[in-house]
């Protein structure tokens, strides 16, 4: 705008840069700390940066248990995502389209795992699982994660199905299609983006899940988060940092690719039934 002096523009620019620098430091500071630690072969206080850099710990981590944990975590995530989608999508459709008694109650039920502290719940679940012989096994961990993750897929898919125009299904009915056929031929294809989005949410949730895996899966089932926790508490800072970075990669990838989808419109009715 005409009339602003160069001086005040300069002040504004400096202020802006300071603001950006502060934000960068606060947000990326802890993360850069991880990166530095993962590459630190020799680091003695009080030097600000490691004396010797190298990828030694990355190699060590990969040769160690890390790969196993990584694969286990991946396996579990894939299974959990599959099961959640198979369970949640038809349920979401039924809830979206039909008059179900206690519909609101059912939707809120899936909030339960996230609403209450899961640690005591898992503690008791462990005894049940021991009885059914699924504690310490992948199946146990999968079951626990599915229960908690259903909400992500269910709530998303309910609003996705509600936005598919009913008239399209009615058109199919009027040509003689049964409800099931109309679902597979019309509703589901149109809802695919929602299925993909909620699938990604569930996948990420499973990869990062810690408490349930620690309690139900120990001591045999180890995913990356559990591995990282053990290394960190054991003061193997470099290994733990390497593991942390690997855990973070899927999340960052998702952020870079899909951050456009985290838009205001999609989230403004979050939490409202």
């Amino acid at each position: 705008m005409s009339g602003t002096s160069v001086f005040s523009k300069g002040i504004r620019l400096t202020g802006r840069l300071l603001l950006y620098a502060a934000a960068l430091f606060l947000i990326l500071g802890p993360l850069s700390s991880l990166v530095i630690w993962s590459l630190a072969e020799q680091w003695h206080w009080p030097a600000m940066l490691p004396q010797r850099w190298g990828t030694m710990y990355w190699e060590k981590a990969f040769r160690g248990e890390l790969m196993n944990s990584f694969v286990t975590g991946l396996e579990i995530a894939v299974i959990v995502t599959g099961v959640v989608i198979v369970l949640a999508v038809p349920l979401a459709y039924v809830l979206a389209r039909f008059h179900i008694p206690f519909k609101a109650l059912i939707l809120v039920l899936f909030l339960f795992p996230q609403a209450f502290p899961s640690l005591p719940v898992f503690a008791n679940l462990m005894t049940l699982f021991y009885r059914w012989d699924i504690a310490g096994k992948v199946s146990g961990v999968v079951l626990v994660q599915v229960g908690a993750a259903l909400i992500y897929s269910l709530w998303t898919m309910v609003s996705v199905f509600q936005s598919v125009p009913r008239v399209l299904e009615d058109a199919a009915y009027s040509m003689g299609a049964s409800r099931i056929r109309a679902f597979f031929d019309v509703s589901l294809p149109l809802a695919v983006p929602g299925v993909v989005a909620s699938g990604i949410l569930v996948f990420l949730y499973s990869l990062d899940e810690f408490t349930g895996t620690l309690l139900i899966g120990s001591p045999f089932v180890k995913t990356l988060p559990v591995q990282m926790y053990l290394s960190s508490m054991g003061y193997e800072m470099q290994i733990a940092s390497v593991t942390s970075l690997i855990i973070s990669i899927p999340g960052i990838l998702f952020l870079l690719l899909f951050q456009r989808f985290l838009k205001a419109e999609y989230l403004s009715s979050f939490g409202r039934i």
Binding site: A115, T127, G176, R179, L267
Partner: protein
């Protein structure tokens, strides 16, 4: 218009009902067995002492762990206050003056899992960590006596705030953006600056969304396990989740752990109920 029913002449009804039940029951049964039932189990178990019904576990919890319960509530409330203050102010500014760089940057913590946040903060905030070495370079602290951030409330509050600020910002900004722009334009024409637009308009008009966000985030703090395990005080006050874990793993006293668990449920439930009550009263 229920074409399907019309075409099937109503015969499909029972078949449909069965199919509906087959779709609804498995997930519902799963969550009930895995979460609702153990929840009830923990209430039951907490009332047992040596095989008899008694409230001893509760009295023991309150007397021995009372300090930790308060600590948990304090740390959660403080983190919530910080998260709300930051997300509402920054969210307000970003809604009124878009800034894609900051908006992207502030989304980053959302995608870092709590476990990683815990470890990252351990390296960053440790007595010999990155933050302190930077501060000592600038000369703010003494190299030989670096302050200790990670153990105790400070480390926990910083970690929890860092991570959930991102989530809160997302939710708060999305409800700010749904406010009709003409309300803000009208406010501007009467002389309302950015600060007033946030205080007098954005916040009052999105109060219930902010309330939902606050409840969700408070519950996530009250039940957090990974961060508090990694940042806890080895001698002083602990987050209640750490106590529960130790009671199970080292003391093997499930009823006591469950008593603590039920107390934590009440802590988590309290704000939610308060919030719902207020919403009901408004309606």
């Amino acid at each position: 218009m229920n074409y399907s029913a019309v075409l099937n002449g109503g015969r499909g009804k029972t078949g449909e009902r069965l199919l509906g039940a087959a779709v609804i029951l498995p997930p519902v049964a799963l969550v009930c067995t895995e979460y609702v039932y153990p929840f009830l189990m923990s209430v039951h178990s907490s009332l047992l002492k040596d095989g008899r019904f008694s409230a001893e576990n509760y009295s023991y919890s309150l007397s021995v762990y009372g300090g930790d319960i308060l600590f948990t509530a304090f740390v959660s409330a403080l983190s919530l206050a910080l998260v709300l203050a930051l997300s509402v102010t920054i969210g307000g500014y970003l809604t009124l003056r878009r800034n894609r760089f900051l908006e992207f940057l502030f989304k980053v913590p959302l995608f870092i899992p709590f476990v990683v946040v815990g470890h990252a903060m351990r390296t960053f905030l440790a007595p010999k960590g990155l933050l302190n070495s930077l501060l000592s370079q600038i000369g703010v602290i003494d190299i030989n006596h670096p302050p200790d951030f990670i153990y105790g409330a400070v480390g926990i509050v910083i970690s929890l705030t860092w991570k959930q600020f991102s989530f809160a910002l997302l939710l708060v900004m999305s409800s700010f953006e749904s406010v009709d722009k003409s309300y803000l334009e009208a406010a501007r024409t009467f002389g309302a600056g950015t600060c007033r637009q946030i205080l007098n308009f954005l916040i009052p008009l999105t109060r219930s969304s902010i309330g939902v966000t606050a409840v969700l985030i408070l519950t996530s703090f009250l039940q957090n396990f990974s961060v508090v395990m990694m940042m806890g005080n080895s001698g002083g006050s602990q987050h209640i989740m750490v106590d529960i874990y130790n009671t199970i793993t080292y003391l093997n006293d499930l009823p006591l752990a469950n008593a603590l668990g039920v107390i934590s449920y009440l802590l988590a439930l309290g704000p939610a109920i308060l919030y719902l009550k207020r919403e009901m009263e408004k309606a």
